[in-house]
Symmetry: C2
């Protein structure tokens, strides 16, 4: 009899976005003349940079002719892209990352979800709260948690991100083996300072732990004091894997390209305590279960690093950050405590009330946000507002919120 | 301490293609004037169909403008593609497959590799020999095998595909829970008849087992008696998942699009013997760890089903099948028993000698094939020749082999 992975039974159905969709559709039926402004889901809204469009067209033309056609490429990505990433995203910031430590993939969701396969099932995992749900769900599927009790999974060390700690949790007092961190954070928009990240790296080195560092929103950092990469922190090459994506940087949410950096200095241990190179393990996993990213898409990603690409991406990001500033200052003016929005496209607003209740108040004004409770227990009382929309829509949304709340 | 998934230590390093590469490069150094003809790796060589190129360009233009830009799409694939697949690949052959049973992905390698995550680790798995290595490797990683002893993994039920059984193994006498089948087969090129597949479906229904049916080479079937889909077999909707790919059909090896069919009738059982819908489980996995295929690529895949696309794909396949016929008849003329090459791009040649020795004899003539032993113990003595090349190269390769072997 074909038996299931019973850990799947522990998963909570995620009703967050379907609940939102239902409430929005009910509102629209009752208010057909108020067009909704969506500042909920973290999806970009502007067209791809011109440099990427040109690269895509050129690569598609190459695919049309036998002479220039590309079949299977290297599973890890083409050298032209891996080299551009290593040089521009890391070496230019003084991070000693080599091209062959970069693994190109079709998404940070896949990579952050798949990476846990390399680990034993009985390690201790620390996961922030609130958090992007993929870290937790994939560890539940793998059997690294117990049951769901009192709103939390047994066996997980939750890292509470609260107003009190500035939404950057301190290292735990106990020893954990695997730590998920995400800065600039989704959903809070908070960033971690050099000193805070150094504490985490030191903790990981001391405990022979590994940090999975999700830097998908790195491009939104404007403050020169905030590190863009965990590899700006001394010692990180030994204890940290970094996930990056072109989704939010260059608007690739519907184009699909990302990458993961696995330094050759990272070690992982077998049951006898013998060290193995994490890089070799991930390479084996990647080559066995993945067949590379489409050639035209890799060419488009590489175009992000051209001078035109860099200028166009900067313009996109600047536009979204201007929206974020508008949202942040409007919400502050209305008396709400906010974090994020300065080095992040997300603004995490303390609504001083039930998340869903606050969501409903904004919806009445025709504005969709995301209730913080959907991201974890510590998200209760908050909402996430996303800057991914046109400036006109954002200005109009803030005007609507102002009217409804004052 | 971060501990590894120790099952990775059981994996054998795959030296097959790197060994081939080394021998080829040594030959080239010694014979700089003999250009190598590659009939080894199963990668297509012709440009993408014109209909796909046009669809790609059009979709890229859509991605350039805010108004037509596409961000995150449905993880399972756009309805336009799922509907085209259900209608053209299944309903047109009398298979009752609905669009929402089709999950679009970036490759059959990913899907065939990832699907085993849904199962308990202590189920009994049957895997053919010789075989595409992904089925076995991903089950090793998940801990469903013991150690490697006498050339085989403990705990796996190997399905020997030999000349004696026409390279279609009979159902095992014992009960197994999960069965991998691949027809037209990689590497042998053999096909399974309706009666043979019916036996497998009946076996699976009797044992509450599940068949993972890899039909990546379906497009090469010319014989009207051979089923294209497992769903042409009565009862298969209850016990079979089917993997398909645009890689070999439309030359998408470097473009990346595939799909998996999970009928809603397929059940899987928990430890109490309670039935759960496999469709819901795969949907949860797919949405948690995957973020959909790039919009332009899905448009290109959908173009395969347009009248022009169908004609262009047929021309590509016919060309490769003409090559296959040339190879098959040349090898038969030289006195070798062959299978495949009629409904498959692969010809499996009984070299009547050590696989690598035969490989070396062909390499001396400047032709690269794949030694059968690389696909499993039953592949010893065989080589796989691929029809993926230009007709001129295939004719020249056969001429060289003829000269060297006679």
């Amino acid at each position: 009899m074909i038996r299931m992975n019973s850990h799947y039974k522990k998963l909570k159905a995620s009703y967050l976005f379907s609940d939102i969709a239902k409430r929005v559709s009910t509102f629209q039926e009752n208010n057909p003349d108020t067009p909704i402004i969506r500042l909920g889901i973290g999806d970009v809204t502007h067209g791809l940079p011109e440099a990427c469009i040109k690269a895509l067209h050129d690569a598609v033309d190459e695919m049309a002719e036998d002479q220039s056609f590309k079949g299977y490429g290297p599973e890890q990505g083409y050298a032209f892209l891996r080299e551009a990433i290593a040089k521009n995203d890391f070496q230019s910031r003084g991070c000693a990352i080599e091209a062959d430590e970069v693994f190109v993939s079709d998404g940070a969701k896949c990579d952050t979800g798949n990476f846990q396969e390399l680990f034993a099932t009985d390690i201790r995992v620390a996961i922030p709260d609130p958090v992007y749900p993929v870290y937790l769900d994939t560890n539940i599927m793998a059997g690294r948690t117990g049951e769901f009790l009192d709103g939390r999974y047994q066996g997980i060390v939750y890292l509470d991100s609260t107003s009190e700690n500035g939404f950057v949790p301190p290292v735990p007092e106990e020893a954990v083996d695997l730590i998920y961190l995400c800065y600039p954070n989704n959903p809070t928009g908070a960033t971690a300072s050099r000193a805070q990240l150094q504490e985490w790296v030191d903790y990981a080195r001391k405990n022979k732990a590994l940090i999975l560092f999700d830097a998908a929103y790195e491009a939104f950092i404007t403050d020169p004091e905030i590190p863009h990469s965990i590899y700006e922190i001394p010692g990180a090459r030994e204890v940290a894997v970094e996930f990056r994506s072109f989704s939010k940087t260059a608007g690739f949410t519907g184009t699909r390209c990302a990458f993961t950096v696995v330094p050759k200095d990272c070690m992982i241990y077998d049951e006898k305590g013998e060290a193995h190179a994490l890089h070799a393990l991930w390479n084996r996993r990647h080559c066995t279960k993945f067949n590379g990213v489409a050639y035209p898409i890799q060419k488009a990603a590489a175009a992000v690093y051209s001078p035109e690409g860099q200028a166009q991406v900067k313009a996109l990001i600047t536009g979204y950050l201007e929206n974020a500033a508008i949202i942040r200052s409007a919400m502050k003016e209305l008396g709400f405590d906010c974090v994020g929005g300065d080095n992040s496209p997300y603004i995490w607003v303390n609504g001083k009330s039930d998340s869903w209740e606050f969501f409903d108040r904004l919806l009445k004004a025709g504005v969709v946000c995301t209730p913080g409770a959907g991201f974890g227990r510590c998200g209760e009382g908050f909402i996430r507002i996303s800057a991914f929309n046109s400036k006109a829509n954002v200005v109009e949304a803030m005007e609507r919120i102002r009217k409804t709340l004052t």
